[in-house]
């Protein structure tokens, strides 16, 4: 003997027929309300079936999905490598950049320093005679002149009119 609830479920699922159907519908106190409830229940069932069933993917969607996953993995790997590369300080490009920068600074300083030093260097380069004098009592006609021989960077103090001496004075 089926209970009311079992018969109600079977009626809603339209599994009742014949005499059982007519007896159940006759037993309903408000058939119109029951029909409305049945229709609502069926609609809800259809909606649930439609929305909750596993969605099947087409081939294109499947490959597109796989492709996106691969791209995402590749990006992750590339980002990891880039982080590793950044963590190493003396990479080849940085070495080259540092070398080029150092060379540029060296050249700039060299040019500036050489440019500033050149005029003074000529005077520092050669020996300078600050003053020279001969004893006027010993050599009354004595004069001095200064020459610079740039070929060998020799400075010459040239005297004239000094007292001549005999060859004996050449002794060691």
């Amino acid at each position: 003997m089926k209970t009311f609830e079992e018969k109600w479920t079977a009626w809603v699922d339209e599994r009742l027929s014949g005499r059982e159907l007519s007896e159940f519908e006759a037993s309903l106190p408000d058939k119109a309300a029951a029909e409305a409830e049945k229709a609502g229940t069926l609609k809800l069932g259809e909606l649930l079936k439609r929305e909750l069933s596993a969605r099947t993917l087409s081939n294109e969607e499947f490959f597109s999905d796989q492709l996106h996953e691969n791209i995402a993995r590749f990006h992750q790997a590339t980002a990891g490598q880039a982080r590793e590369a950044r963590s190493t300080w003396w990479t080849i490009p940085r070495l080259l950049s540092a070398g080029a920068a150092s060379l540029a600074v060296f050249l700039v300083f060299t040019v500036v320093v050489m440019h500033e030093k050149n005029p003074a260097e000529e005077s520092q380069y050669l020996t300078q005679i600050l003053n020279a004098r001969v004893d006027p009592l010993v050599s009354p006609n004595g004069t001095v002149s200064i020459f610079e021989v740039k070929q060998d960077r020799v400075t010459v103090l040239w005297t004239e009119g000094l007292q001549s001496l005999p060859s004996d004075y050449a002794a060691k």
Binding site: T127, I129, V154, T155, V156, A170
Partner: protein
């Protein structure tokens, strides 16, 4: 990395220190030279080799003989010394060191008689030659070179 940098800095500092020490102790050669024209000239003394061409061209002699010399290593730049021959004496009084060389006071004596006095800045790269008196058929030259 830090250790390498520290090592490099130390090496440069040591090299610079050693260089300045080496630069601080230099030797000045001063010589009394008789220049003459002879038929068989003697080889030029090694101290004059680097200025041989200038000496010959400028003074017109073919032989240069050292009759007195002195070699002085300057440490403070305040030293003085004497280069002498039998009759001549060259007194050199160093009066300080500059970046370019030494400030020197030079006095040439014939026996006790002062013939010539000069103040000069002797460059480390530029020898000084002073034409002295005529001696017989030749010429007395005074030469100072920073070696």
């Amino acid at each position: 990395m830090v250790r390498s940098l520290a090592f490099l800095v130390s090496l440069i500092a040591l090299t610079m220190g050693a260089t300045s020490v080496l630069q601080g102790a230099e030797t000045v050669w001063s010589g009394l030279v008789i220049a003459e024209n002879v038929a068989q000239p003697q080889p030029i003394p090694p101290e004059l080799t680097r200025i041989e061409g200038s000496l010959k061209k400028f003074f017109g002699y073919n032989q240069f003989q050292v009759i007195g010399q002195s070699q002085k290593t300057l440490k403070t730049g305040q030293e003085d010394w004497l280069a002498t021959s039998k009759f001549f004496g060259l007194h050199v009084d160093a009066r300080g060191e500059t970046e370019a060389g030494y400030v020197l006071n030079l006095k040439l004596y014939k026996e006790k008689e002062l013939l010539l006095e000069t103040d000069t800045k002797l460059s480390k790269r530029s020898p000084l030659v002073i034409k002295g008196p005529q001696v017989g058929g030749g010429q007395l030259l005074l030469v100072l070179v920073v070696q």
